[in-house]
């Protein structure tokens, strides 16, 4: 939890954002740490490249720093931040066009190398199936399933109507279910 240096009071997220908007770099760094993994993962699901994801995440956070004054507190900060991250990722992907090698998707199980070979295989299968989804549907699925954004927040982040969010999510899930049928039969 971030504390105000002058009052020693613990601040909640809107207060931290306000401090950052007034140029407090420590408050902003707190936001960076809070959202670092989320932003890296969103970009990673778009390009399947850790290096590119980290670069895009850093660019996104710098853009957020530069444009923080434009953020309006009526909207979700997560949605606003993720929109900038997605745009930064798209810019980098357009410039660099990394080749998505499905065979080289990096998987982290959180366990030791020898453990859970089956889990790792399943995870690989899921990730590969996700990478085969169209980008527009995949990003909606990622924001919903991995970042737990509401439909409204996804709509705000991607600047699309809620109806489109729902249809893309439905399409992504149907395709994923079809692709993961062998895995589901195993379970």
């Amino acid at each position: 939890m971030f504390r105000d240096e002058t009052t020693g009071k613990q601040l909640n997220e809107p207060e931290i954002i306000r401090k950052a908007q007034h140029g407090d770099k420590d408050a902003f760094c707190h936001l960076v740490l809070a959202y670092r993994v989320a932003v890296i993962n969103i970009v990673y699901r778009m390009c399947a490249n850790v290096q590119v994801s980290e670069d895009a995440a850093q660019i996104a956070f710098l853009r957020v720093w530069q444009h923080l004054a434009e953020y309006r507190h009526q909207t979700s900060f997560r949605a606003w931040l993720f929109r900038i991250a997605i745009n930064a990722a798209l810019d980098i992907l357009r410039r660099e066009k990394p080749v998505i090698a499905l065979d080289q998707i990096e998987v982290s199980t959180g366990n030791s190398v020898d453990d859970d070979v089956v889990i790792k295989q399943q995870q690989e299968m899921i990730e590969k199936a996700m990478m085969k989804l169209p980008e527009a549907s995949r990003i909606v699925l990622v924001l919903r399933e991995f970042q737990q954004l509401s439909y409204q927040e996804i709509a705000d982040a991607l600047e699309i109507p809620i109806g489109t969010v729902m249809s893309r999510l439905n399409y992504a899930r149907k395709n994923l279910l079809h692709a993961l049928q062998p895995l589901q039969e195993e379970i």
Partner: protein, 193 residues
């Protein structure tokens, strides 16, 4: 509502339905076997997706942050954008303009009540009167210009121009506020389908 409430499945799983919609959907789910099967499959998919763990990146948090800090020194945050100022500037300018014109109307109508006051003011303001006296054509040009631009009503600020101005300014103001509201608030909740 569509048969099998197909599109409600996702919203139900994602907690996006209203209380009434949840009751409706659960009633349907209890009676509909194909939907129950689909629901089971969707639940399993959600469980499968939970197995995908987030990547942590190659840099640790401190390194990631220190690189951002370095670049932050070179790039200062932008101050409140001109776009945000314009949102407040337009309605303020409308109100100020109306106030200025109204004051002008009151002052001129008061002056007209005093016999001979017009001549005294014109004589005491050489900067205003001289250009027109020296160049008599100037008055005609200015008036023609205003007439041509449709702004001649500004010189004759009476009750009709006031009503007209208030009416048009109100429309402009409400359109502006509607734009402001749509731009500054989140959109409505889940749409019915």
């Amino acid at each position: 509502m569509k048969e099998h409430f197909e599109h409600w499945m996702d919203a139900y799983l994602d907690g996006e339905l209203t209380d009434i919609q949840i009751i409706k959907y659960e009633n349907h789910l209890n009676e509909c076997e194909p939907c129950q099967q689909e629901y089971e499959r969707q639940l399993m998919l959600k469980q499968s997706l939970l197995k995908v763990r987030p990547i942590q990146g190659t840099k640790n948090a401190d390194q990631f942050l220190s690189e951002i800090r370095l670049q932050m020194r070179a790039s200062q945050p932008k101050k409140i954008g001109i776009q945000r100022i314009i949102w407040y500037l337009v309605p303020s300018a409308l109100i100020l303009f109306f106030g200025a014109m109204q004051t002008y109307a009151w002052v001129t109508s008061l002056i007209e009540l005093i016999p001979g006051a017009n001549r005294i003011i014109v004589d005491s303001l050489p900067f205003l009167s001289n250009p027109i006296e020296i160049n008599p054509w100037l008055s005609t040009v200015v008036q023609t210009g205003l007439l041509w631009n449709g702004l001649n009503w500004l010189l004759d600020w009476n009750i009709f121009t006031q009503i007209f101005f208030i009416f048009s300014a109100s429309i402009l103001y409400f359109v502006w506020m509607a734009l402001w509201i749509t731009n500054h608030t989140t959109k409505s909740n889940l749409v019915e389908f």
